[in-house]
Amino acid sequence: MDRRKFILGSTSAMTGGLLLPGILGAASGEALPAGAVASGILDALPGKQPLIKRSFRPPNYETPVSLYRHAFTPNDAFYVRWHTGVPEITRAAWRLRISGPGVKSEREFTYDTIRRKFKMTEVAAVNQCSGNRRGLFSPHVPGVQWGYGAMGNAVWRGVRLKDVLEDAGLAAGALEVIGNGADAPTLTGPDFVKSLPMWKALDPDTLIAFEMNGEPLPKWNGAPARLVAPGWTATYWIKAVADLTVTDKPFDGFWMKTAYRVPKGMFGASGFESQDTEQNSPITAIKVNSLVVDPAPGAVLERGRRIDVLGIAWDGGSGIRDVEVSLDGGSTWRNARLERDLGRYSWRQWRYAIKPGQAGAMTLMARAHARDGSTQTDTLVHNPAGYHHNVVQKVDYHVA
């Protein structure tokens, strides 16, 4: 398969790197590192539309904001994030093993036996990388320099993790469920393995999913099966999941103990007490956030012509209460119109009609409020790993 290549900076409307943040939907005052702008070309992986390439190997590709116009993100537009090479597991070869001191008896399922034995169910949920928007941190922090596109919204279909665990039988003292995928480190580094607390593993919305948006998972997004932990960042959504170990003590692998951590108390309680330390906590639930999708930042708007601004808003599962828009730098705010509620873990589309009256610069701000009372921050809560960027966006337009 030929892979189509595009260079963002070479398309007709753009004249160089300086305009790239606008294309990527960056708000004023926020910019990716210059090197990330230069190396962030549009590149199509097999079966995917052209996405913004952050790294070729392992493949890390983000979704351009312009592809967030749909209520659900098409599978071929869905972002890609791997720590290692992408495993190629056929359905016929796939096995899921359940074991550990926290289960009464071990289990092994094939693709057919697990789907036959347990009830299939669905959940609409945002899948968002912990490091989404890391590239917009100021000062910058090392890591994959994501813009706004390390996320997507999909309907996930599969069996409940709860049903599978209860089939094996939970033993007294079961504390965490450790998920391991079929991927493996290149050298002697730590295998990418993550654990969930029992309450999250037993949540009826936590799935072992085989499909997204009515189609089998693409290999880039975890075929044949992945964990779906709605409301929590995607680090827990183990792709190509192969092993589940129910443990009776806190799992101390590198990707739990050392990586994916936030300073203790900076973002509230983690809900994962067995992984909290005196200094820090695992990143867990997604913070309330919103994004302007259309018109793109930097767009030229026609004076006196009424248009609808389209955006999305989401949180870690309480649902979106309202989205407010300000056109005067944050002095006054008016509610946007919320579109249909597709479920508390889904993002919510919103629209706001504007009719620019004056020629010149115009700045639009959008701020989401969740049903749990939380809202976006006005300034960045800086943290070493570059997580939870949910600063109120300021989008600049030009009226002519």
């Binding site: 190396s39 790294s55 050298l187």
Partner: protein, 106 residues
Amino acid sequence: MSHKHAVRNAITSVVMAGSIATAAADETSIRLTEGPGLPQVQASCSMCHSLDYILMNSPFQDKAAWEKTVNKMVKVMGAPLTAEDIATVVGYLDSHYGKEPAPASP
């Protein structure tokens, strides 16, 4: 003139090269700035990942930050680098992809 100005030049040349070379934008198309230590960087870093990780993470890391990154690759990820290799790689990254020096006060 600081050698760190080379970063901007390198970035410019990547953009230019990219818009001319349309067919071969897989990881072999990544061009890092020529300089002492480049072969060691290519050999060491590309064992596990494409070299765009370096470009992407520039130019905002000072020498201490690059040292931390390289040490993580060795100590945690298992990259088989000697102390001498580490010094070569860190020196190259700092020289060509290091943080821009703060503007001198007038």
